[in-house]
């Protein structure tokens, strides 16, 4: 098979170094944030296949009941509230690094997903959401007739 696609990520790309520098600069500013206070919370990992998407995110300390997942067209929304931390006059704090309060994040997916075929599980503080592309949205192979 002959492929003539231009690959912008190849080594011949003159802008590759510039992009690398840009991402390095972004990391410098990333480092100024305190742990647990990134601009978008929670951070997510996304995996895709032709007909499915898997999203994972770390939400230690929550339970299944604390997490609300909604999906509409191409947007997956995660909402949740961490339980109140201990408070009182008799408490002496030494370190307070863990996340508090409520969060809301919407993630745009690369394609539409079937809301009826979503499999979400929460195990050891990690939320895994498996989503399927709806049947009518799958890319269809077109048969070519030889007349």
């Amino acid at each position: 098979m002959l492929q003539t696609t231009f690959s912008p990520m190849s080594y011949a790309d003159p802008f590759a170094n510039m992009r690398r520098m840009q991402s390095a600069m972004n990391q410098i500013f990333d480092g100024t944030r305190l742990p647990g206070q990134s601009a978008t919370y929670p951070p997510v990992n996304l995996w895709v296949a032709e007909d499915g998407i898997v999203m994972t995110t770390e939400l230690a300390g929550l339970t299944e009941q604390d997490i609300e997942l909604t999906v509409k067209e191409k947007v997956l929304t995660i909402r949740g509230t961490f339980p109140e931390t201990q408070s009182g006059d008799d408490i002496v704090w030494h370190r307070h690094e863990r996340v508090n309060g409520a969060f809301l994040r919407s993630i745009e997916l690369p394609f539409r997903v079937d809301p009826d075929l979503i499999n979400a599980r929460f195990e050891n503080g990690v939320l895994t959401v498996e989503m399927q592309r709806p049947e009518d949205d799958k890319p269809k192979r077109v048969q070519i007739k030889s007349s």
């Binding site: 895709v48 931390t85 030494h94």
Partner: protein, 133 residues
Amino acid sequence: MAQEITTQDTRDVAKNNGDANRRAMAFTPIVDIYERDGTTVIMADMPGVSPEDLDVTLEHRILTLHGKVKPSAPEGYRALTSEYRVGDYIRTFTLSDEIDQDKINAKFKNGVLRLELPRLPEAKPKKISVKAE
């Protein structure tokens, strides 16, 4: 009372997120530490660790939290975005002498380790008698 527990290891490899050239093998779990009614409570976030892969060891007042994480990339999928990285967790604390080491209570639920470290009831300043020669 001053800090009963001091962190020995303060490096936070988790901040190196997104740097593909650096391969961090272990992350420092974020913790809450507070004291109430003579008990010190440590809560450490270790998402992704199964209870059987969590090791809490105490050796000569050094308390080590170590959680192993099995990488779980779904098969047949390619990574599209990866905003956080997955790895083991290690954090070490030095316990003060006044902790009742036999009564330490550890629980692990929803990726959070909760350690209760009760203070010894007879935590009094030790008096050393000096003999005159």
